[in-house]
Symmetry: C2
Subunit: 188 residues, 2 copies
DNA sequence: GGCAGCATATGATTGAAATCATATTGCGAT
DNA sequence: ATCGCAATATGATTTCAATCATATGCTGCC
């Protein structure tokens, strides 16, 4: 694993927060305290439309951070709601700001951010592919099928049925091997 | 406009590169020189699949950067091909690495990266919305309709016809106003 | 002025993925 | 062992966006 920039933040700037389901971690417009790392559970970031519709702008999984931009902002720009109970770590924005003076932190942060941006761009390209078969193939090339097919399908924004069918088609066309139930590999 | 981190890089580290259509800026496996900023033209980043299929992993527009992660890598992990003639600026990776020692650069970089990550996450959520009407509504809430409807539709990964129909439906349902041809606003 | 070209718009048809339904397999708990 | 449950897998039907077609308004150009 690459150096996690947040390991370089003094622990005094870290605050564990336990979130029950439905808990609002912060509200749109609240003054920012800092960014969050999800240890366990899941958090949704939501923006409220003019007529009260709630749009999810991000689903933060365990092991990921969210509200990174709040470090550079005076107020939060969305709501954060705990949708699965767990523990979050809040990292104080002043500590992050200060840490940028440490070149080791700055480079670790830069590296992580650059890789995340690259990965997200790739995901945007992949989910933009219309044909299920092509999308599944692109997902396989990108190495997105590491866990279950159901999870793979969710990442591809396809129904798992459509994903199974596309996989079968790719196997029939000889582009993919299916050595055993649930396992698919690109034919070299 | 927020401070562009690359303005803080000494100009000696910048190299303008003119690209004709079809020019390969770099190949997968080439040793990295640095990242690129597209001044004019367009560049596709492509990864080659095991059977020679080419998957576009990013389309870089004028005014955006690409291959940022190459600063932290020994070799490029994809091909960069100029699909519209223009001028690129290459920023030397050593200069970027060195610049992270400057807290002002580090913070500017961090801010830009955090905002880009946030924007990309939001785009991923939006293009993941199945119903054209909901997707268009989310796009409007996100402020994605600044230029033409055609451009808006492309951002949403929808056909412009579907986008027009969704907009009309939203107007009929009173959720959006259409003060004049081509202009749509959220009803407050 | 008149023409070309593009954005805007909307109707008709088609196609592909979502959805619904139904088995089967594999695995952990009791 | 067997019960229950989730993942795997595939068939049938429906839905809805893409596509094709057509028309109009607007803008720049000669």
């Amino acid at each position: 694993m690459l150096p996690n920039p947040y390991d370089l933040i003094p622990s005094s700037a870290l605050r564990p927060i336990s979130g029950a389901i439905g808990d609002v971690v912060f509200h749109q417009g609240d003054p920012t305290h800092g960014l969050y790392v999800v240890q366990t559970g899941r958090v949704h970031l939501e923006r409220v439309g003019p007529n009260g519709e709630r749009f999810i702008i991000h689903r933060a999984q365990a092991g990921t951070s969210f509200a990174e931009a709040s470090v550079f902002s005076e107020v939060y720009h969305c709501d954060a709601v705990c949708v699965e109970a767990g523990v979050l770590i809040r990292i104080d924005k002043a500590a992050v700001m200060a840490a940028f003076a440490d070149p080791a932190f700055a480079r670790a942060y830069g590296r992580q951010a650059a890789q995340q941006i690259q990965a997200q761009r790739q995901m945007l390209e992949i989910v933009g592919i219309r044909r299920a078969e092509d999308r599944v193939m692109a997902g396989l090339v990108a190495g997105l099928l590491d866990g279950s097919v159901v999870e793979f399908a969710a990442r591809l924004q396809l129904s798992h049925e459509a994903t199974y069918r596309a996989l079968r088609k790719l196997v029939q066309d000889g582009r993919v091997t299916n050595p055993c139930r649930g396992i698919y590999h690109l034919r070299p």
